[in-house]
Point group: C2
Chain length 176, copies 2
């Protein structure tokens, strides 16, 4: 910008001298060229930032969901432990069981869904092995038991499942 | 861009004729001016989109929290109704009461906090009046009872409180 302006100001009024004219034309052409290049670069930056902004919006929304949902998963765990212990008061128990069903539906509505674990092949992307146990009835590498349920948020992992896996044959062999 | 290029191509080789030169200098100056204006406008758009992007990220995160938290509020309501009904099984009841405390803490951690209602002046920004009742003990315009708890998300409202308000003196007078 500065160079282009200097050229203009400095040569104003000299337009009758052909040599100075030649210089001025060259100078202006270079300045115009520079300016056009500068515009193209800024336009490219502009398009980049616009594309990135739309990706980042989606990620920010996901972050907000994650921040809100993650602390609630241990609450559901706690409710499930209470229900698993059972109660001598069937009416109260049924009220709490109904609340539990609402809870799972609300998590789904808020974007969270359980990870399938028991009976599935161990998948390190969503499962965290907290035990490996030899089994006669379960195929090696298959999840036998779920210690803590895993949760997904869309196609991301919200919390891994903690699972016990049937020992692979090779491992059992090598332990002998 | 097109005009500047046309000027260049059309006048290449004519730089020895002063009149054409004058025209060329004028043309280039105008083209450079246009180009600089164009650059300034794009730069302004660029800054705008960058500023807006940062505001929009915050709003998108908030949206994600809202979408995740809103469906969970009726679950807490349901748990509180169950607890309010009481139980003949004190152990089970205590397990559920502990889960309820975890729930309120988890909502706080996820960004949601209860709206203060009972004993406060009715505030249409956070309260929804579902009843207006004359009272001898409560000042007019004060919230007497909460039917459904309200929740905030930061400085936004997540869900209004449904409340019963003490009738204003004027209203009581006009009913006579």
């Amino acid at each position: 910008m500065r160079r282009a302006d200097d050229g203009k100001d400095g040569l104003e009024g000299d337009t009758s001298q052909p040599a100075v004219q030649d210089e001025e034309v060259e100078r202006l052409r270079r300045a115009l060229d520079d300016e056009q290049q500068r515009h193209l670069r800024l336009r490219a930056d502009f398009e980049n930032i616009r594309r990135r902004a739309s990706r980042e919006l989606e990620a920010a929304r996901r972050d907000g969901q994650r921040a809100a949902l993650l602390p609630l998963l241990p609450v559901l765990d706690s409710l499930e432990r209470a229900l698993a212990a059972g109660s001598t008061d069937p009416d109260f128990y049924e009220g709490v069981a109904a609340t539990h069903r609402l809870f799972v539906n609300a998590l789904h509505e808020g974007g969270a869904d359980p990870v399938d674990s028991v009976g599935r092949p161990f998948d390190p992307k969503v499962h965290e092995a907290v035990g490996v146990v030899p089994s006669k009835s379960v195929e090696p590498g298959i999840v036998m038991r779920e210690i803590q349920r895993g949760w997904r948020l869309g196609d991301e992992l919200l919390r891994p499942a903690q699972v016990v896996v049937a020992a692979p044959q090779e491992a059992s062999d090598s332990w002998r």
